[in-house]
């Protein structure tokens, strides 16, 4: 048992190392000279050369990789070539913001998707079910940033009920934090909710055809109770897979909404750092994103084990 856990962790670690190499290689061919960007248009070529050496950009790739990843392993992401600050805290701050935003939106999405998806599945053949299903189909088809723009226009600009964008730390001002969270979370959550509700619907439809639902009906449970007591947990399994993948894509995917609402999240930080060719920061961000997703997969695996006893006891 311990061995197995160790092996799993070993596999996970190997994956992370490979991912770090992929990240490093991919970013090492970035065009654009970080030294030149730091110095600006007035600097001479000699200045740029000196700056290149100072930033350690003239060392061989292997050395740079080992130096970088070695430090990452001890929690040191290096120093940003732009802000001159340790990158770790910058990433942590931005990641925190994005994670809060994404999780809130996912919670909103679930609050919408579960009842909506179940309803559309149960009422599949009724006209109202078809209408609801159509609504969610259209919801899936709307770009998230368009939803964001419209929300800002209506609730921030026209009605002035909520701020048009920006971010407040929950620790600084909790009410302000909530105000700033609502619109972006809704923008991100509404589209995700529509997507999720499609999965909930098909998963519930699938489960409704299962034999054990028929068994439950034969026991004297009404259709609704049978679904509620026996179906939903079973239907949750495929939905969870999708949810895990969604959260993974949203970490970067939220960048569009972050842009609409001027939120300094991880995706925005990545775009900024890429633009500034802040290579240590970009590498750090990409690695954190990738490891986050890998870890998320691992957790989803684990969650399956918890929800499904068939996976728990293998013998």
């Amino acid at each position: 048992m311990v061995l197995v856990v160790l092996r799993r962790i070993g596999v996970f670690a190997t994956t992370v190392v490979v991912a770090s190499i992929v990240t490093f290689l991919m970013l090492s061919i970035l065009p654009g000279n970080a030294a030149r960007i730091a110095l600006g248009v007035q600097a001479t070529e000699a200045d740029v050369a000196a700056q290149t050496t100072a930033m350690g950009l003239d060392r061989p790739a292997v050395v740079r990789y080992l130096d970088w990843f070695g430090h990452v392993l001890i929690g040191d992401f290096g120093t940003s070539t732009v802000s001159r600050q340790p990158i770790g805290p910058e990433i942590t701050d931005a990641l925190g913001i994005t994670v809060i935003l994404v999780l809130t939106s996912v919670v909103l999405a679930l609050l919408f998707a579960i009842p909506f998806g179940v309803l559309t599945a149960v009422r599949q053949r009724k006209p109202d079910g078809a209408i609801l299903s159509g609504i969610s189909q259209i919801g899936v088809a709307v770009p998230g940033f368009l939803a964001g723009m419209l929300l800002v226009t209506v609730f921030a600009v026209t009605l002035r009920w909520l701020p048009a964008g920006g971010w407040v730390d929950p620790g600084d001002d909790f009410a302000g934090f909530l105000e700033h969270l609502i619109l972006p979370a809704i923008a991100l959550g509404s589209v995700q909710g529509a997507v999720l509700s499609r999965y909930v619907r098909s998963s519930v439809l699938e489960v409704m055809r299962e034999d054990f639902i028929r068994t439950a009906r034969a026991k004297g449970l009404g259709a609704g109770r049978a679904l509620f007591r026996h179906g939903l947990r079973n239907a949750a399994v495929p939905v969870m897979t999708v949810l895990g993948l969604q959260i993974a894509t949203l970490l970067v995917g939220a960048v569009v909404i972050e842009r609409v609402f001027s939120i300094p999240g991880l995706g925005s930080l990545l775009l900024d750092k890429v633009a500034l060719r802040d290579l240590p920061a970009v590498q750090g961000i990409v690695l954190v994103l990738v490891v986050f997703v890998l870890a998320l997969n691992f957790l989803v695996d684990l969650a399956f084990t918890l929800i499904d006893p068939r996976l728990r006891s293998a013998s």
Binding site: T215, A216, G222, A314
Partner: protein, 599 residues
């Protein structure tokens, strides 16, 4: 609001009148009428598509939304027609006054819920016990009654931790929990191994007899009906064509369909050419609900005559208590197949985050020979290792250790190149008529697939010839598998297997998925072809009856080893190993059944 109040007059438990079920496109059940008296055990028999399951689901009110039922279904003591009663009222009846057991023990239980809780639920739903605690206590009691080992622990198990038979017992416990008036069982034992099947059937019989519950048992297997029921209804194409006491129907079927069905079910009865009775002629569906006596039909009593006696006759041996290795059916000279000390272990796929996949012993030190021209049957239940053995014989799998020679070709460690000749010499016929043919390929391509280095024209000619040999016209060549019935698909499978003129034919449960009527035809065909091509046949099956009909020698395999092997008749008549005895008694012949029923 319809209320449920007992009516005063004594009446049948279930009364079905003029039940018709239709889809938007056509009618599936045509005016079904029957009664079941209190405590009566009735079997409903028919082949796939005859409408027997629809009958049961109509009674339960669980028809798919898209089907509509008309007529009337009345339950004793219920002042309403179940077909028109609102769902809310049916909910009070289902699981309480009438209960149902389904075919698929693997999927009929909620995989995420402990079985005890699932049994308890049916009582809490109908408030037949006070409180959850009492429901749980009662659930354990019920699990004890259905003879689940360690019922207290079993109640805490999840369905996947139980075997198929155990799950079906749980389903039974659930169904009987509220002492229903009527129990419906839809193919309750079809998915179970024969030995388990007998136990579960015995249990059903005992439970309903003890409690005076009326039983409607749906099955395709006449033996199952004979085992449990007093009366049998025969369904054919949406009609009940015969209705009578089991003994009478078994011995003196009246309707032509029933007659054919029973004849085809009897693998020990052959015609004057040594061939099984088939149902190839179309049967006119005329409902007959009479119980008039007819003259008893003479049942052939002699065992199936073996059309071909191989030169080699196997010794009748069994494994000894000390597990000393035995070489079964040892052949002097060069056998077609020689297996020595064959073991196969594998890791079960899956496992979870925290557990390693367990090692499973598929086969343990198996040794036997198969002589050239022999018809060698391998019989065993699911998980016995028979499929693993078959796969290794066809070089689809590799032994972990031991020696396997087929037609002089060592299997262990052989590369695909070395096996090239072997591949055309050893061919295989599978169980599943749906799954064994690629749905995207035309019959022409399917049958020609094993051919190598053959030009189109010759391939076409050979395919045509081979299709003719299995009784199919050449015009089927350009069709796809889904356009054929199960029996026809199995013919195509056989054509594919024989097109390379192999010397060894391995058949894996080749008739198990077929309806009784078709089974006989395919078995006859196989027997003919084995003769014609002088094949060495290895026939793997769970069904001793089929093996007995087709094979001269049988090996009984259990838990990864051969426990007994010998000439089929000997093994059947004088089983040496207790497991074989169990197996034999669980698969009675028609004669035996008739004897039991009329006794």
């Amino acid at each position: 609001m319809t209320s449920i109040t007992p009516t005063a007059t004594p009446a049948p438990t279930l009364s079905v009148r003029d039940l018709r079920v239709g889809s938007p496109f056509n009618e599936l059940l045509h005016s079904i009428s029957f009664d079941i008296a209190a405590g009566e055990r009735v079997g409903l028999i028919g082949e796939s598509g005859s409408g027997k399951s629809l009958t049961a689901t109509s009674v339960m009110g669980l028809l798919p939304e898209t089907l509509t039922a008309t007529g009337s279904v009345r339950l004793n003591g219920v002042d309403a027609d179940l077909l028109t009663a609102p769902d809310r009222n049916l909910n009070q009846l289902r699981g309480n006054t009438m209960a149902m057991v389904f075919q698929e023990p693997m999927t009929a239980l909620n995989p995420l819920m402990r079985v005890g809780a699932q049994v308890a639920e049916i009582m809490t739903v109908h408030h037949t016990v006070k409180g959850r605690r009492q429901a749980r206590e009662r659930a354990v009691e019920l699990l004890t009654q259905v003879k689940l080992p360690n019922p207290r622990e079993a109640a805490l198990a999840f369905p996947h931790q139980l075997s198929g038979g155990q799950r079906q017992r749980v389903m039974l416990a659930m169904a009987m929990a509220n002492d229903p008036q009527l129990l419906l069982c839809d193919e309750p034992t079809t998915a179970l191994d024969v030995t388990v099947q007998a136990e579960v059937l015995g249990l059903i019989g005992k439970l309903v007899t003890d409690r005076g519950t009326s039983l409607l048992l749906i099955t395709h297997d006449i033996a199952v009906v004979a085992e449990v029921c007093q009366r049998v209804l025969v369904m054919y194409q949406g009609n009940i064509v015969e209705d009578g006491p089991v003994g009478r129907v078994l011995t003196a079927p009246q309707h032509p369909y029933t007659q054919k069905l029973i004849a085809a079910s009897d693998l020990s009865s052959v015609d004057d050419r040594g061939r099984l009775h088939t149902m190839s002629m179309p049967v006119v569906a005329t409902p007959v609900v009479s119980t008039a006596e007819t003259s008893p039909r003479r049942m052939p009593t002699d065992a199936a005559a073996l059309p071909l006696s191989p030169a080699h006759r196997a010794a009748h041996q069994r494994i000894e208590a000390d597990d000393a290795p035995v070489i079964f059916n040892e052949v002097t000279g060069t056998p077609a197949i020689r297996v020595r000390d064959l073991s196969r272990q594998y890791r079960r796929r899956g496992g979870s985050v925290f557990t390693t996949a367990p090692i499973v012993h598929g086969l343990r030190e198996v040794s036997f020979d198969v002589a050239e021209g022999q018809r060698f049957g391998i019989v065993g239940e699911s998980g016995s290792g028979k499929s693993t053995l078959m796969r290794i014989l066809c070089a689809l799998d590799q032994p972990t250790s031991g020696l396997v020679d087929v037609l002089g070709q060592p299997i262990k460690g052989a590369s695909e190149r070395q096996l090239r000749n072997f591949r055309s010499q050893v061919q295989i016929v599978f169980q599943d008529p749906m799954g064994s043919l690629d749905p995207r390929m035309k019959v022409r391509d399917i049958v020609a697939e094993p051919l190598r280095h053959v030009d189109r024209a010759e391939a076409r000619a050979r395919v045509e010839a081979q299709l003719a040999a299995v009784g199919l016209d050449a015009d089927v060549m350009d069709r796809h598998p889904h356009q054929f019935s199960g029996g026809q698909r199995q013919r195509i499978s056989i054509a594919r297997a024989l097109i390379t003129r192999p010397r060894v034919l391995v058949a894996d449960e080749a008739v198990s998925a077929l309806d009784v009527s078709v089974r006989a035809q395919v078995l006859n065909l196989l027997a003919d072809l084995v003769d014609e091509y002088q094949l060495t046949l290895v026939f793997v099956s769970h069904d001793l009856g089929v093996i007995r009909h087709l094979c001269d020698t049988v090996a009984v395999i259990s838990d990864g080893r051969i426990v007994e092997c010998g000439p089929t008749g000997d093994v059947y008549d004088r089983p040496l190993h207790p497991y074989t005895r169990q197996l034999v008694s669980a698969t009675p012949s028609m004669d035996e059944l008739a004897r039991r029923v009329t006794a």
